[in-house]
């Protein structure tokens, strides 16, 4: 298990380095002058030069990338070109918001999706199975931002039950929960469908295996077989998908954060792109990539823990 962890950790570092290199290449390729955006139309060419020099933007991109990596080792993600705030501060403030949104979105999707999947698998080809199938496919097909917009109009504007923007007062938990309901609903609904379909398929396969038939021969109830013996095995592919899913949830959260004017990594990255604020963009993407890598790493470990065959193969 130890060597497995070391291998995965090395892979994670490789992914992060690749992401940084790709990002710096993109920044170099995309036109747009951060000095013009930061200083506005009245800045002279000399003033822009002073700004570029002060922010290290006059250096070639490879030099900027190496300098970034050097600073990264010291825990410095750079400085926001517009506000001169440390990027780490901005990211640290946005990160919990996005992670909470993604986890709550995924959490409620799991809570609803797993029982739906089990119900479908227990009654295959029944009316309820078909109903759940239609529901799951429908919600998978719905884009989360579209759902966010309609949920916003219905629950915030028409009914005025829930707030339309922001993340709530810091320290006020009920307020933060209220601000989380609609975005988390929008982010997670599609995943309800995915998880339900995945659990159903995986469970149906597991229920056909020999050891399950043995349990049945011993007279163990269907419910106990499903929940106690078949579901943990059926969950292994689900766990793997969740790892990848968390990454797509983080990127899906971008649009939802924009719709709900909710501070987070997504809105931070979007603003950074439009204002050519490369340090903030690199910092944000780096942290998002790190989250993605950590989520994958954690799910790999969990899958290895659940299934000894993976440990041996790995």
């Amino acid at each position: 298990m130890g060597s497995y962890v070391i291998r995965q950790a090395c892979l994670a570092v490789g992914v992060l380095l690749t992401a940084i290199i790709i990002l710096f290449c993109l920044i170099y390729l995309v036109p747009g002058d951060p000095a013009t955006v930061a200083l506005g139309p009245r800045a002279s060419a000399e003033q822009k030069d002073v700004f570029r020099q002060a922010m290290g933007l006059d250096q070639p991109i490879p030099v900027q990338a190496v300098r970034f990596l050097g600073n990264l080792l010291k825990g410095d993600l750079g400085t926001d070109l517009l506000t001169r705030q440390p990027v780490l501060t901005l990211v640290a403030s946005a990160l919990p918001r996005t992670v909470t949104l993604a986890l709550v979105g995924l959490g409620w999707a799991l809570i609803v999706g797993i029982p739906l999947g089990c119900l479908s698998a227990l009654r295959p080809n029944s009316g309820i199975d078909r109903l759940i199938g239609v529901f799951s496919t429908s919600v998978i097909a719905l884009p989360s931002f579209l759902l966010a917009i309609y949920a916003l109009i219905l629950f915030a504007v028409v009914l005025r039950w829930l707030p339309a923007m922001g993340a709530g007062e810091p320290g006020d938990i009920p307020d933060q929960i209220t601000h989380l309901i609609l975005p988390a609903f929008a982010v997670g609904l599609g995943w309800v469908g995915y998880i339900a379909r995945l659990v159903r398929a995986s469970l149906l396969e597991t229920l056909q295996e020999n050891h399950i038939r043995t349990y049945r021969a011993f007279g163990v109830s269907d419910m106990r077989i499903t929940l106690r013996f078949a579901l943990p095995i059926a969950m292994i592919p689900v766990v793997a998908v969740i790892g990848v899913g968390l990454g797509s949830l983080l990127s899906g959260a971008v649009l939802v954060e924009v719709v709900f004017s909710r501070p987070g990594l997504g809105s931070l990255a979007l603003q950074a792109v439009t204002s050519r604020n490369s340090p903030v963009l690199v910092g944000t993407v780096l942290v998002t990539t790190l989250l993605y890598v950590v989520a994958n790493f954690a799910t790999d470990l969990l899958a290895a823990f659940l299934d000894p065959r993976i440990r041996k193969e790995g």
């Binding site: 747009g32 800045a43 707030p163 339309a164």
Partner: protein
């Protein structure tokens, strides 16, 4: 010890009640804080604060906050007419265009225990615009300044090297005229960023949550009339549609809205709608150095083929009036007619005379939904005279980068573009961007005439309003003569607010004057 046994039903009931309670309390809470009776005003800001230094500030997202927390000698008047009124100054003499004596109100204090605002602070604030270490982006606002002479603790004289008419229109009442605390700024190495260090206005910046909220609270040491609101929360929301939704949901009290929402808002009549003529100008520029447009007859044909009133009506449905130049109508020197209005027959004749057939051109612009409609209408109009227009929307920063690209020369590929500038309330700031030294910087039409530049310089010094106005009209005539400009509109700034609010804005509606807002 025995534990209470809960049935499944009891667990569900408890969870439901908890969830509803949390939601309910929060909803009620948000309703209470929404009400202006609570003396908390929630207002949209165009963006987050970037830099609160008057010399190096960002844009109006900074200035809206700065006008509330800093004092200037004078300030803009709220209402429909551009003008100024005394702020930190008790008196200000405007008789001599080269020497402006002022006297500060005694007792105006800095926050943070920096004592009283003195003439030393005024001198420091204005003279630092010329300090190379400050790298003042707004240095041109004080380019005419010779020095500020200190008479005593509260009095001084602003001495100019030459007459500078915009001093009382776009320098002193604007953010370049705000006074900073010499002691606090020097203590911080001469740098002001998102922390204003020390302020002397009716509100003070009490909390800044980056990208989330800017909170202003009353300055307890403010000696003037107490501002109405206990607290003002500014929410940095770039997207006006999202802000309007938040207004409808009761999460915001005041917000700017898109022009396209104005007609619908008028019908609803559920809130106060404030629509003011913007100090902005949108036009279609033609790159005269692109091979397709080197012939003036081709450029003129495009000018004559476009029916601007029809474009504007189709785009904004009467909410916006067509433009006749670059200077917006409330300002001196605004024109009231075009030299080359819509005339498709003349356009066809010009193309024939130039020997141009089957002309294919493109117009590029940022991601603005209104401009897309305008472009589509123009596409149809140009088609009528035999010109094929390709409409290309793109990221605004990318287009600007291409227009300013002197290194690789990709500016040559730019053909036509839509562009909008906003301006300070003086015509000199409108014409500034069309000079020879702006070619490839912000003058993307690349029109250049030394005579035009000289006349423009003279106009900024002309004290006689009538003569000055005539000079600016002539400057715009000459721009139109180049054939590189199709003037489109000046736009409006529209805001919605509760009926119980006395709103206060500059006459163009660009800046919400927070210190003057109150409940009815």
């Amino acid at each position: 010890m025995t534990l209470p046994i809960l049935t499944r039903r009891q667990i569900l009931q408890t969870l439901s009640a908890t969830a509803l309670g949390a939601v309910g309390s929060s909803v009620l809470g948000s309703t209470a804080s929404f009400a202006i009776d609570g003396k908390t005003l929630k207002i949209r800001n165009d963006g987050d604060i970037r830099n609160l230094d008057p010399a190096t500030r960002g844009g109006w997202y900074d200035e809206t906050v700065m006008f509330a927390i800093f004092s200037g000698l004078v300030q803009f008047k709220a209402g429909d007419e551009w003008g100024w009124q005394l702020d930190a100054a008790e008196s200000l003499d405007t008789k001599d265009p080269l020497a402006i004596p002022f006297r500060l109100k005694p007792g105006l204090k800095w926050t943070g225990g920096y004592g009283e605002v003195t003439s030393e602070d005024v001198k420091y604030s204005y003279e630092r615009f010329a300090d190379p270490k400050v790298n003042a982006v707004y240095a041109s606002d004080w380019a005419a300044l010779d020095k500020v002479e200190i008479t005593d603790k509260y009095s001084g004289v602003i001495r100019l090297k030459k007459p500078f008419v915009p001093l009382f229109t776009s320098t002193l009442p604007h953010a370049s005229g705000l006074i900073v605390c010499k002691a606090a700024v020097e203590k911080n190495g001469g740098v002001i960023g998102t922390d204003p260090l020390a302020t002397s206005g009716p509100y003070m910046l009490s909390k800044w949550q980056p990208k989330e909220r800017i909170t202003l609270t009353r300055n307890p040491d403010w000696p003037g009339p107490k501002p109405y609101f206990d607290e003002i929360q500014l929410y940095p929301l770039a997207d006006r549609v999202a802000a309007e939704t938040a207004f409808d949901a009761g999460d915001l009290d005041v917000t700017q809205i898109n022009i396209s929402s104005v007609a619908e808002r008028k019908k609803k009549d559920t809130a106060t709608l404030t629509v003011k003529p913007a100090l902005a100008y949108t036009w279609m520029g033609i790159n005269i150095e692109n091979p397709k447009f080197t012939d003036l007859r081709v450029r003129r044909a495009i000018q004559r083929a476009i029916n601007v009133p029809e474009v504007i009506e189709a785009t904004f449905g009467g909410a916006v009036q067509p433009a006749f130049g670059i200077i917006p109508p409330p300002l001196l020197g605004a024109r009231d007619a075009l030299l080359y209005p819509y005339d498709p027959a003349a356009a066809k004749a010009l193309l024939k005379e130039a020997g141009v057939t089957d002309l294919k051109i493109k117009v590029e612009f940022g991601t603005d939904a209104d401009l897309l409609v305008a472009a589509q209408v123009m596409q149809a109009q140009l088609a009528e005279v035999g010109i094929t227009l390709d409409v290309r929307q793109m990221d605004g920063a990318t287009l600007t980068a291409q227009q300013q690209d002197t290194k690789d020369g990709t500016w040559k590929d730019v053909e036509m573009f839509f562009i909008t500038f906003t301006t300070a309330p003086d015509p000199s700031w409108v014409t500034e961007w069309f000079k020879c030294d702006q070619v490839g910087v912000w003058n993307f039409q690349r029109t250049c005439d030394a005579g035009w530049d000289a006349e423009n310089a003279k106009a900024s010094e002309e004290p006689d309003a009538a003569k000055r106005g005539a000079m600016y009209i002539d400057l715009q005539n000459k721009l139109e003569e180049t054939g590189a400009y199709v003037f489109l509109y000046h736009g409006v700034n529209a805001w919605v607010s509760p009926k119980a609010l006395n709103g206060a804005w500059t006459p163009d509606g660009q800046w919400a004057l927070l210190r003057d807002m109150s409940a009815k």
